[in-house]
Amino acid sequence: MEQDDVALVHASQRGDRDAFGALISRHAPSILSLATRMMGPADADDVAQETFVAAYKALAAFKFDSKFSTWLYRIGVNKCTDALRAKKSAGASIDGAVAADDDTVAAQAADHQTPHWELEQLELAGELDREIRALPDLYRESFILKHVEGLDYDEMSAILGVNRDTLKMRVYKARTLLCRSLAHLEGTYR
């Protein structure tokens, strides 16, 4: 898989847009997932697109020191951080994004006449999603990379430029905060 990335990156660096299109198609699910968890669904698509545009512009600087996916995650995290900072300084809150997400979950349930247990799962996912987005920024990005994207601490360290011990502490704290905020879900976290 990664070997294919190497060939596609080389071709993209030579200006082959079809090759870069293949890289986009391959990595869009993970970058869109990262942006959705970090930003909420309303802004995720735009931030994910900006991530790929920024990657393309900086592609000449990619020297294969890391996996392409690691480098791309790094750009994605920075884009999300920039966008969140811009939203905060513009006075926006994440409530809109959370509300939109709740609507999405509700619509999904209605459209598919979801059975009761699946509805519970969707509600749980919606709650968890909302609480993840309510985490402090540094805890949120660490938790998402570790437990939503399933990366190990070494790769996270390469993406975030932070040492493993600090990342572990952030993930520990994120987990504790999430357990606390989701404690009202009877039988799930208590």
Binding site: Q13, P29, A48, I75, V148, L177
Partner: protein, 230 residues
Amino acid sequence: MTNTSDDMRAEELVQRFIDQELTAEERMQFVARLGRDEALRRRAMELESLVLDASRLPRPIVPAGFTASVLRRLPEPNVWQRLSAALWTGRTLQWNLGGAMAVAAVLVLAVSALVVRDRRTPGTSGTLGTSGTPLLPVRLVMMQPGAKVVQVAGDFNGWNPAQTPLERVSADGAWSVTIPLKPGRYAYMFVVDGRQWVADPFASEQKDDGFGSRNAVVDVRPDVKTGASL
């Protein structure tokens, strides 16, 4: 879990268990302890549930036109890329001296343009947060007249107080350290005489640390003198 010290050890153990970072021996001891410590068992289960649910969060569906939409936003390839693409597509070039000199001139221009672009575009290095990020001096001050040792632990030193001791800077008990930090938000606590963890009373912001106390938070920004920067 019986007292605070035990609680902290148990919490660290269970968190490392969730991360699958216990040694084989530690894991054996931990599993044995789970059998007799109900509180620890409950804590392990709630963390396991959380981690499992997070890994099962539904992946967003990539919209149908996503790739095409990104490709439309890409800048046009530069001269170097067009030339390189032409060379790699296997076309036969008709070489002659004039043509070769023209290509060499284009190459020199293209390489120069790349160098200039790299220097001018902070996005290449700055966006990625690698080299070149300015470090800003942050001065932390603590009043502890009776203390023998004051240290600070935080996000910036892996929460290892031994790495960052403060110096006594006045006879009335002021301790201080200046730390170079990249822009960002950092949680931290002072550690007095190696055992007492104290939040910075000068900090402009504090946050629940999730373990029953509050961390001070410093927001390091190039344009703002922070509350902890005295």
